[in-house]
């Protein structure tokens, strides 16, 4: 059923006259893994806090599992888990004791079996008597997740769970989330990493308090009808200079981005064949060697950058300010 886990309508929040969240609506079904993706200051944490009932909204409604966040907080509390960005563990308590502590504050009386399950699930069982202070960053994070899950919540909210985490720990953490999803838990997370959003069933891109797009990752990839041609060339920097200096190229391509020894050309106005021919001709005229050229799917980053730019231009036009000259 549409929005049976989370149903948000016109949610707003301002701090000192600044709109942190400017009227967002979204719905999440049970069993989904939903990502709210956006830069620092986009309104991700404010949104998640309003959903968890920690912060009250200025306007709009939010319902979790059918209960109103404002009117029925007690019904909601026992059904959700929240892992904040700066989660706090008791450093002078062991893993076992930390989980027990969270069980008690959540009113879970018979927590022992659940604790065993969670220790098994996070593979922390061999370290159960170790003080939280003596754990690696990755283990601390797993413990925090275990504490969040002690009361078997139906929805968990994770605020940037992988920020500052190394790739190995990150991959481990995603495995745990996949396990949870398989078990039917609804997951709502925020992340600044666009590649992580690819792992979710649905994604909302948020910038300056507004949702720019919300869909399954595949649909967002093709949202703007963009195509991308990846060109490995030498010398790559000279190639970028040539492209940037060519008025026709600037007109015809939406974006060009350099990655080490390769350039990614993003375009919407022509076919891949036409684009390839244009690039090949320009590079040939300027003595740039093409090592490899191929088409690929636009990344979420390509799409997000275009959406953010469109919005900045629109805002600038509305306010009558001069639009920033198109630059790569």
């Amino acid at each position: 059923m549409k929005g049976d886990a989370i149903d948000v309508e016109g949610l707003e929040k301002s701090f000192k006259g600044t709109k942190a969240v400017a009227g967002i609506s979204l719905d999440v079904e049970r069993g989904e893994m939903f990502a709210l993706v956006g830069p620092d200051g986009a309104g991700k944490t404010t949104t998640i806090r309003m959903l968890c009932g920690i912060l009250s909204a200025d306007a709009g409604t939010a319902r979790l599992l059918g209960f109103d966040v404002k009117k029925e907080p007690e019904q909601i509390k026992k059904r959700i888990g929240y892992l904040s960005q700066k989660f706090s563990l008791y450093t002078d308590l062991s893993i076992d004791e930390n989980i027990e502590f969270f069980a008690r504050i959540n009113g879970v009386k018979d927590f022992r079996r659940r604790r065993e399950e969670l220790l098994e699930f996070t593979r922390l069982a061999p370290f159960r008597n170790r003080l939280a202070d003596k754990l690696s960053g990755g283990m601390k994070q797993k413990l925090a997740l275990a504490c969040t899950l002690i009361h078997t919540p139906e929805i968990i909210f994770l605020d940037e769970p992988t920020t500052g985490v190394d790739p190995v720990t990150r991959r481990d953490f995603w495995k745990l989330l996949a396990e949870l999803m398989k078990g039917g838990t609804t997951i709502f997370l925020t992340t600044p990493y666009l590649d992580e959003a690819e792992r979710c069933t649905r994604v909302a891109l948020i910038d300056r308090g507004e949702i720019l797009a919300c869909d399954v990752p595949e649909a967002i990839h093709s949202l703007l009808g963009q195509q991308v041609i990846e060109v490995s060339c030498s010398p790559a920097r000279a190639a970028l200079a040539v492209v940037s200096g060519d008025a026709v190229m600037r007109e015809q391509f939406d974006d060009v981005q350099m990655f080490g020894e390769r350039l990614d050309f993003v375009f919407t106005k022509m076919s891949a064949e036409e684009a390839t021919a244009m690039i090949e001709k320009l590079f040939d005229d300027n003595d740039i060697t093409i090592v490899d050229i191929r088409t690929k799917t636009p990344s979420l980053e390509n799409v997000f950058i275009s959406l953010m730019r469109d919005r900045t231009r629109r805002d600038a036009t509305e306010s009558g300010a001069e639009t920033e000259e198109k630059q790569w």
Binding site: G137, P192, E261
Partner: protein, 314 residues
């Protein structure tokens, strides 16, 4: 430098008591190159950087930075490098211009050169018109560019960036990388650590450190071809969660399984065998296979693969 290398590291080792933090690491970084130094937390990255910055003596082996031996001439090394970390420190109650003046003093930049250097860093970091603003009034992306600009005020030949781009938006991140490219273009060697493997794609060369050992070295393209012995298949199935459970219980013909949205990624040795197995398994469980496609491994896939391999060795 005759060699064209701005950093040369040979058999560098650092032990703390019995603990080998860095073990027999060798690599070169060319002048003007963007070098990505990657590895999980605790792999020894910071120890290597501290040695290369002349702050810590190696136990064995040696290294030269900007032509100077890190053990014999640490002061010359320090004079020729810049350093910026995620926890960069700017003076919040000073304006941008006053911050630059302050650091010009610390770096002992000759009085006659100060104005020119300030102009250069303000231009290259695109901070023009903001000279009278205070750092705290600036968004994260601009502060990062200011911090990087400050670290090159004294014209270092090499700049070390330790996880410089945490938490900024894609456009700011792009602008930050534009600045890195501009520095590299002007001949400055950029040595950068990051946890964003998509960012590592921007580097000319990458070294990957794991438990103090350099387990991979090369350009992003080389890493994807040289080190990856397995293929990654993307499986689209009608019930992804169930399909993941079924595939997760398999072993022998497949290694890693992970879920990407509604798709499943598996790493396999034999593509044809894997395709047959996936179809057979899923179909017999009443799951429709909507597609199986081989995809290019990401740098993250490669590092996870390399780490698995290392772990199996030990």
């Amino acid at each position: 430098m005759v060699s064209g290398n701005s950093i040369e590291v040979s058999n560098l080792t650092k032990r703390f008591g019995d603990f080998v933090a860095v073990g027999d690491v060798s690599f070169d970084v060319k002048e003007g190159e963007i070098f990505g130094f990657l590895g999980p937390n605790g792999s020894g990255k910071s120890t290597v950087i501290r040695m290369l910055c002349g702050l810590l003596d190696p136990t064995e082996g040696h290294a030269t930075v900007a032509g100077y031996d890190i053990a014999k001439n640490p002061d010359d090394v320090k004079r020729n490098i810049g350093y910026m970390s995620q926890k960069f420190s700017l003076y919040e109650d000073l304006t941008i211009e006053q911050n630059l003046d302050f650091f010009a003093g610390i770096y002992k930049i000759p009085r006659a050169r100060i104005a020119e250097r300030k102009k250069y860093v303000i231009d290259v970091a695109n901070l023009k018109g903001l000279e009278k603003r205070r750092p705290r009034e600036l968004p994260g992306g601009l502060r990062q560019r200011l911090a990087l600009a400050t670290s090159i005020l004294h014209e270092p030949k090499i700049v070390f960036l330790d996880e410089p781009t945490g938490g900024v938006d894609p456009i700011s991140r792009r602008k930050f990388w534009d600045l890195i490219y501009a520095l590299s273009e002007s001949g400055i060697t950029v040595f950068v650590t990051t946890h964003f493997l998509d960012e590592a794609e921007h580097c000319n060369n990458i070294g990957f450190l794991y438990f103090g050992k350099l387990i991979a070295y090369g350009s992003p393209k080389e890493l994807k071809t040289k080190y990856m012995t397995q293929s990654i298949l993307e499986v689209k199935a009608s019930q992804p969660a169930e399909a993941l459970t079924i595939l997760g219980n398999e072993s022998g013909w497949l290694d890693e399984t992970s879920i990407f949205g509604n798709n499943i990624h598996i790493s396999v040795d034999d593509v044809e065998l894997a395709e047959r197995n996936v179809r057979k398994l899923l179909t017999s469980n009443d799951i429709t296979v909507l597609g199986i496609e081989e995809i290019e491994p990401s740098l993250e896939d490669i590092f996870i693969h390399l780490i698995d391999r290392e772990n199996k060795k030990s």
